[in-house]
Structure formats: C-alpha cells, structure tokens
Amino acid sequence: MTSTTPPTGTGALAKREARLAWTLLAPTVISVSLVVILPLLAIFWISFKPFTLSDLRPPAPVVRESLRGSGDDLRIEYRLRNSSQEIAIDGVTLSDVLPDGVVAGEVAAPCVLDGQELFCDFGTLEGGQRERIRIPVAIDGDPESFEDVVETSEPRVTGSGPNVLTNLDFSLENYARVFDGSEFWGVLWVTLFYTVFGTVGALVMGLFAALLLNKSFKGQGFIRGLYLFPYVAPVIAVAFTWVTLFDPFSGSANALLIQMGLTNAPINFFGERPLALIMVTVFEIWRYFPLSFLFILARMQSIDSSMYEAADMDGASPFQKFWLLSIPQLLGILSVLFLLRFIWTFNKFDDIFLLTGGNAGTRTLTVNVYEQAFAISNIGAGAAVAVVILLCLIAFSFVFFRYISREEGL
C-alpha cells in the first residue's frame, strides 16, 4: 500500500542536513558549554555556599618518607600531617611497598606488614594533627644507595575532608552580605552613573567624530586610523598611561594645569571622590568613542545622497539637513549601539580595575565581584554579586532582543 498524501514531518534529506549542521556545530557547542554555560551554572551553585579562597585547597593528608639512622639502627620514617589546621580528615590510610632488600623489623599499630606491603589505618586525622611512624629495618647492601630507593618510592595516602563545594549545604548568607547595608546601593549607583554617562558620552563623541570624517579628503584614512588608536591599543597600556599622565606628583596633566594657572595644588584625579568616578567615565568615553564613530560613519556613508540633493533643492540649511535627515537615518544604528554599549559598559571590569582598583568611590558591580572574591577572599559573596549582574543582564537582553531584532533583523 502506498499512501497518496504528501509526506508530513521532516524528510530524510532534511534530517541529514540537520544532522550535518549539528555535527559542524558540535565543537563550538561543546567548548562553549564547557567554558561558558558550565561556569554560569557553577556561579549560581557557589553563590549559595560559604566558600572562601582558602577552601580552594581542601584539607588533605601530607606524607614524607625518609630513611634515617645508621649502621644497625636503621629505620624508615613516615611523617604524616593534616594540611589544614582546623578541619579534620576522615578515612586516612597509608600504604607503601618496601623495596626489595629491605627487611622490616617489628611494626607497631596502627600499621600491619604483609610481606613487603605496609598498610596503616589512622582513622580520623584532626586539624593540625601530626603522626610519625618508625619502622626499624635491616638492609643488605649500602644504606647510602638505599636512601634514594626508599625515598623515591611514593607512599599512597587516602583520606578526604569535607568539601564545601560538593556538599549539599546551602545558605543565603552571601546574598545577605551582598545586599547588607548601604554599600550595595552605592555600588549600584556608581555602576549606573558609569554605564549611562559612559555610553551616552561615547555615542555623542562618536557621532561628532563621524560628522567630521564624513567627507572625503586627502588623509581621511590616516585620521580615521588615528582616531581608532584608543580602542585598538591594549587596555593595560592606555590605562597605565592615563594613571601616569594624571599622577598627582609626577603627572604631566597636573604640571600643565599648574603652569597654566588653572589650579594651585596638584589634583589627585584618580584618588578623590567624586572626581575619580568622573575620570573613569571619561576614560571609558575616550576608549570607546572610536567604536561608535566607526559604526556611525559606516552608516552615514551608506545614506543615499539623493535625499540631501533634494533637500538642497528645497533650500534646507545645513543644520536642518542634520536634524531632519541625518539623525532620523542614524536613529537605528544609534539605538543599537546604545543598547549594546550599555550592556558592555555595564560589564566592563578591566578599565576601572586598572585605573583605580575600585577605590575612591569607583567600585562598580563587576569590580565588586573581584573585591569580594579576592580582596576579602570570600568567593561565595563574589559569586552572589555575579548572580546579581547576570540577573540585570537577562533584563537587558530581553530589551535588546525586543528592539534590536527588529532593527537589525537578527
């Protein structure tokens, strides 16, 4: 029986195409999920844990083996200790194979000797506890050469302490700490100031620069390249240059201001509230105006010139042409740039970290992640701040896809 209805569902060819597509995408998907998705999930997990920097090295038994004594009084010594001073380790055992030619004497508890195989069971090792095991041995041969043989045979130790990361204890302590007090709102305010003014400033400057270069003349390419320098140069280079330039003691900017009589005493540009916040925002504008400039210029050059010719015929003045023709044409790219730059400025970490280290009232949310996790060495709290950032970003990207998708047809 053959059916006469047209086939429904996906055909074999379409299936093969989809399979090939996913095969080609597989490396990307796998690597991105390993380095992006997995860490994001980990961030959520850690944010509910009392996890500090010192928990990175979980407590473990540490053992050292040596051959001691001389002549008839030879002994193998194992020295065992808990690497942590506070946390106990459970199920600590030690096992080792004595090399051939070594005859062990009497073995004391908690160890047993079976042939050449030594096994000791210590049970629980308290924080800071040390154990020492001496095994008298007789050696047929030169003790000197046996020293190496004995010491290179690594004893195996087992035993593990409680791992904060993998157990199922959760707490809201990190969030309580993050939202506690006025600090969080201060950080949020700084972030918003930095993001809004940094984004708008870079857009306005970019628009201005694009207007300058939106005509062809000799050297236009050179100037365009020059204006991209701040963006292309490594952030460490330009950030440290700014720090040097605005240094209160040996900075040229202060020297210039004093010489011109604009100020009497040197100004600590990156060390005073609220000047430091303004300065990092200015740096952000300086560094990213080239990007807006590049995009706006590209859009400007694609505007149909016949529109301007028509406006000329109708007697429109230059300002009218700018406000009534150019701006509406550029509105699309401007809003796309605004949203994307807004998100990117919100995410910015390097610039502020290098300029002020988050001091003098310039701590944004991203810098706060670092501060909590590494300066206060509370990784859990840092993760909680990161979760707050992610929640903000989800809100932003919602807006982004609602508006940008229409503009750019993504």
Partner: protein, 402 residues
C-alpha cells in the same frame, strides 16, 4: 546674531582662545617651558581679528595679514593670546609667534570665508558655525588621541629624576644615542620581556587558529543549513557576547585551581579561543550568507562532499573575511588582560599584558611601566596600520564586542 559684524568677532574670539590653548599646550609638551593661554586677552584679540577678517573679504588682504602678524608679535609683550614664560629659549618663542600668526591667518580665513560684513543668510551663518566646529573637532580629537600616546612614548625615554623634576619636559636629548632606550634594554634583560613577547605571540596565534578551526564549520552550518534551533542558536551566540568576563573568570579560576591548570599556558590556550569563538562565528556567518550558493551547489553536483565544498570553494572565496576575523581575534587575544592576570602567577609563564601589570608597582620606575606599555602597543599598532582595511572591516563586522 546673524550679522557679519557680530558672527565674525564672536567666532574669531572663540577660535583664537582655542588656537592659543592648543599652541600653549603643544609648546609646553614639546619644550617643558612655561606657555600660558590668556583667555580674556585672547577673546579681545580674537574679536578684533574676526572683525578685520569680515571687513576685508580678500583672502590675503593686507589688513588681515597685518592683524595676524600683530597677534603673533603681541605674544612677546605679555599682552598677547599666549603668555611666554621668561626662561623660554629664543627658538621656542620664535616658533610660538610664527605659529600663532600663520595658524590664525590660515584657519580664520577658512572659517570666515565669504562671510559678508552685514546681514547673513541662514546658510552662510550655519556654514561658518560648522566650519568652526569642524576645526575645533579636528584639534580636539587629535589632541585627546595623540597626547596619551605621546606621553607614553616620551615617558619611556626619560629618566626618573628628569621626570620628577619637570613632568612637562618631554624634550628628548638625542646625544645620548642608544642610552635613550635604556628602559627597553632593561626590560628585555632583567624582566624577561623577550619571553613574554614570544608567549603572547604564540598564544595569540594559537587562539586565532583554534578559533577559526571551531568557528568556520559552525558559521557555515548556521549560514547554510536549515535545522531546528537555528534561530535560537544564533541568538544564544549573541547572548554569550553579553556575559561579562569577570563572571566567567571566577569559576574558571576555581576549576583551574582544583585541576592544576592554573599557571599554565595550556589553560590559557584552552580558555582564550572560547571567548572569541562566538564573535568569530557571528562575523563569519554574516559573510557566508553573502556568498552565492550557486557556486557551492555546482561543487556538490560535481561530487564534492560538504566538507570538501567548504574547504575548496567557500574558504578561498572568504579569504578577506578570514583575514579580518583573524586580525580581530588576534587583537582580542593580544590585548586580553583579565584572564591572564587571574590565571598566571608564575613570572616565567606571563603573557605580555600580565608582564606589564607586574611593572605597576611603586618599586619599579614609571618609565619602565611606560616602556612595557609601548612594547605591548607597538606590535598591535603595526598590524593595525599595515592592515587597516581588514581591521576596520573586522571591527565593524564584529559588532560591538567590548
């Protein structure tokens, strides 16, 4: 407002203040001597000049020339637009005077070009204002871009005492010969910068290769095939753009600490490409979409497999796009700071950016830090200037990755 005898002096006054400030700042940075723009006097002088230029429309009218020369010479008296300090060398003063006179004459003649003395039409007025703004824009943008880089290079050539003595004095004593570059030789000799340069280079190149290896097939699949989840996939690629690095760096730091990948180049090479694959994939799929499918279909008809089509047809056609993407990815990897800073502690494994961060301490003199910054900047600038066309295209296509 729209009268030639008002517009001219107003623009002239503002323009002279701008020019005087520019020349004063330039001369200060070049010589270290005292130059000060005088705003009040500048406004007065500029108004006079503007009025003269509007009143005498001929391009090089004697009255215009006379006023400009007078402007220049007035700087000598201390009543001019630029105040020259007492201990300034004769040449510097001379250059300042010439600069004020020549620049003022040429630029004012351009700005107030064809501006009648009396009533202005809207067009004439706005054109003059636009020319004024354009001039200001060029000076402003060039200054803000050039000054930091100038300070960076010049500081690296100075000695600590000279720097503290007069932070403005960037004049370079050429008679020292190669001793001028002592900060650089010290960095390469005592701070291992040769190794860092090499590490940064091969890490960046590896990142470019791995990124292309992963993103080319992916981009092709997104651009050419129809499959369920295609749209969701391209969107999530964009979303990954938006995840801040510091949020990812934290768990990566933890994972690498536990697995022992911290402090190893292998770990860096594993992480860098993943940060660039989404960008590269996004850029490439846009380009692939623009390629005609007919050529590929012809290849398929002739018995090539899909992979062979990609290798033999699509890739050769998209070489310019591959160049842009590679340059862009190279730039990101070369400039990357945060991951290198968090994951590398061992000075023998530093990348260049991490090495420069190490120089930022109070024990190491400033000029070393600046020399390090120059070393980090120069290669990327050379690449950028040499391949500006590709780079600009890459930057534009790379959307707005920060």
């Amino acid at each position: 407002m729209r009268k030639g005898y008002i517009t001219g002096p107003v623009l002239g006054a503002l323009w002279l203040v701008i020019i005087a400030s520019t020349i004063a700042v330039t001369m200060s940075f070049a010589t270290g001597a005292t130059f000060r723009p005088q705003v009040g006097l500048g406004l007065v002088w500029g108004a006079v000049a503007g009025l003269t230029y509007v009143a005498f429309p001929a391009r090089h009218a004697p009255a215009r020339l006379a006023v400009s020369v007078l402007l220049g010479l007035s700087c000598l008296s201390g009543l001019g637009p630029v105040l020259i300090g007492p201990d300034t060398s004769v040449q510097a003063s001379f250059i300042t005077i010439i600069a004020v006179a020549v620049v003022m004459h040429l630029s004012l003649a351009e700005i107030l070009k064809e501006l009648p003395f009396a009533e202005l039409t809207r067009h004439e007025f706005e054109d003059a204002v636009i020319r004024f703004c354009t001039g200001f824009g060029y000076i402003f943008f060039t200054a803000i871009v050039v000054i930091p880089f100038y300070v960076m290079v010049m500081t690296s050539l100075k000695s600590q005492q000279a720097l503290l003595q007069n932070p403005l004095d960037f004049s370079v004593d050429l008679s020292q010969g190669t001793a001028l570059f002592r900060s650089y030789t010290e960095l390469f000799r005592d701070f291992n910068f040769g190794t860092y340069l090499w590490t940064s280079f091969y890490v960046s190149v590896l990142t470019v290769f791995i990124t292309l290896l992963f993103s080319v097939p992916g981009a092709y699949a997104v651009a050419r095939f129809r499959f369920k989840g295609q749209k969701a996939f391209s969107r999530s690629i964009l979303l990954i753009y938006m995840v801040p690095m510091i949020v990812l760096a934290l768990p990566i730091y933890i994972a690498f600490s536990i697995t022992g990948l911290r402090n190893s180049i292998l770990g860096i090479v594993m992480v860098y490409p993943v940060t660039t694959i989404p960008v590269a994939l996004y850029m490439l799929q846009g380009y692939f979409r623009g390629l005609p499918t007919e050529v590929e279909e012809a290849g398929l008809m002739d018995g090539l497999s899909r992979l062979a089509v990609i290798w033999k047809i699509t890739l050769p056609l998209s070489l310019p796009a591959l160049a842009s993407v590679s340059l862009y990815v190279f730039m990101i990897a070369w400039n990357e700071f945060l991951l290198a800073f968090m994951l590398l502690d061992d000075p023998s494994k530093f990348t260049l950016t991490r090495g420069v961060t190490m120089l930022n301490s109070s024990e190491i003199p400033r000029q070393h830090l600046m020399a390090g910054a120059v070393i980090a900047t120069l290669p990327i600038m050379a690449l950028f200037l040499g391949l500006e066309r590709f780079m600009t295209k890459g930057l534009t296509a790379g959307s707005v990755k920060g």
